[in-house]
Symmetry: C2
Subunit: 216 residues, 2 copies
């Protein structure tokens, strides 16, 4: 069983803490506010009232035993920064933290935080992409310049064969799957006639995916 520490039990921190606990991990959640701690006392292995600016209190809370510490303090920049310094000080092997601004991000990185998270920015980018192209249901970046996109089938393509789509020749995309409900009904190389509610999974470079989407 692995041990995780979450510093700050706002929306982000509480979600991380509860989910990790639900997956079967040992979670220590701390917050300066009594109300936050009480509302998590039943859910987490340990929920304690601690000021993250106090490294002694953090140690006493057992944060030093955590393999990863997640700092989830958004609006108090000083508290977030001190928490990062303290977690590194007490020897937590990996520290992740959420940041509110680019400056906040830079400071945390300089302090050795291993991963900085911007929930509003990341979700904002996602929402803008989905609004911009309503045929894009969802997508994931593979980290190598390639993405997998879950496209809706536009009316213009209903009834068309997958083999007749221009995604390969014109856009260098690979169809890694077509799903109909929970059935896998096709991929590049197989016979497949597209229907209205199918999910079309395409793999390719961002710019090619965007050009393909624009052509639909």
């Amino acid at each position: 069983k692995r041990t995780f520490g979450v510093v700050g039990l706002g929306n982000f921190g509480a979600t991380v803490a509860n989910e990790l606990q639900r997956f079967g991990n040992h979670v220590i959640g701390i917050d300066i506010a009594q109300s936050r701690v009480s509302s998590h006392a039943d859910m987490l292995s340990h929920a304690m009232i601690v000021d993250a600016r106090d490294d002694v209190a953090l140690r006493e809370a057992g944060i030093g035993d955590c393999e990863v510490g997640v700092i989830a303090i958004g609006s108090d920049l000083e508290a977030s920064i001190l928490a990062a310094i303290n977690l590194k000080l007490i020897g937590v092997p990996a520290v992740w933290a959420k940041a509110t601004t680019k400056t906040h991000h830079r400071i945390l990185t300089k302090l050795g935080v291993d991963r900085v998270i911007h929930p509003e920015v990341e979700v904002g980018q996602h929402i803008a992409q989905v609004l911009h192209n309503p045929l894009v249901r969802d997508y994931v970046s593979l980290g190598n310049g390639y993405h997998v996109v879950n496209f809706r089938i536009p009316q213009s393509l209903e009834g068309k064969r997958l083999a007749d789509l221009p995604h390969r020749e014109k856009f260098n995309l690979r169809c890694t799957g077509v799903m109909r409900g929970t059935e896998f009904v096709g991929q590049d190389g197989t016979e497949c006639e597209l229907r209205g509610d199918d999910l079309l999974l395409l793999l390719g470079r961002r710019s090619d995916l965007r050009d393909f989407a624009a052509s639909l």
Copy 2:
């Protein structure tokens, strides 16, 4: 060119507005705070100081011409709710809004908001998943109970052939791709020897993916 309205230019709203503008759309951004509006005046088609609780001012800002209005006011519940009522009132066809709490979510849904977004909760769930299983680089839900997961190759699988992995028989998973750098080097049915930095793309049900990940 499509027109979008963004009400509230905090981290989330500003990201949505700037990205949509960058993609070539016409964006009207409004905020009650002068500083937010000035910092966006150069970037957006229109950036205006408006109190979203004032439906007349919203109309004058041109929000009635938007195909989608995004409400990005987090902490002021009353302003967010009034903004939602106003956008429906002035006839914006689709209204999306970010919410901070479950109650906020319920109220917005009751008011006819088409999509409610919780950036901190959505990213929190994602972070918890990636922390829980470090072999999971990233994943996307397909909406039908199936997911596509981007797995790292654990040391125990280096040098193994894709065909020898138990993902198909034991876990009902489909390998839709193996990427090495920017090269697509395999998928179920092809000869492929796995190397350390490969990206393994697996498609399957959430529980099966979790069991497979746990077995690694």
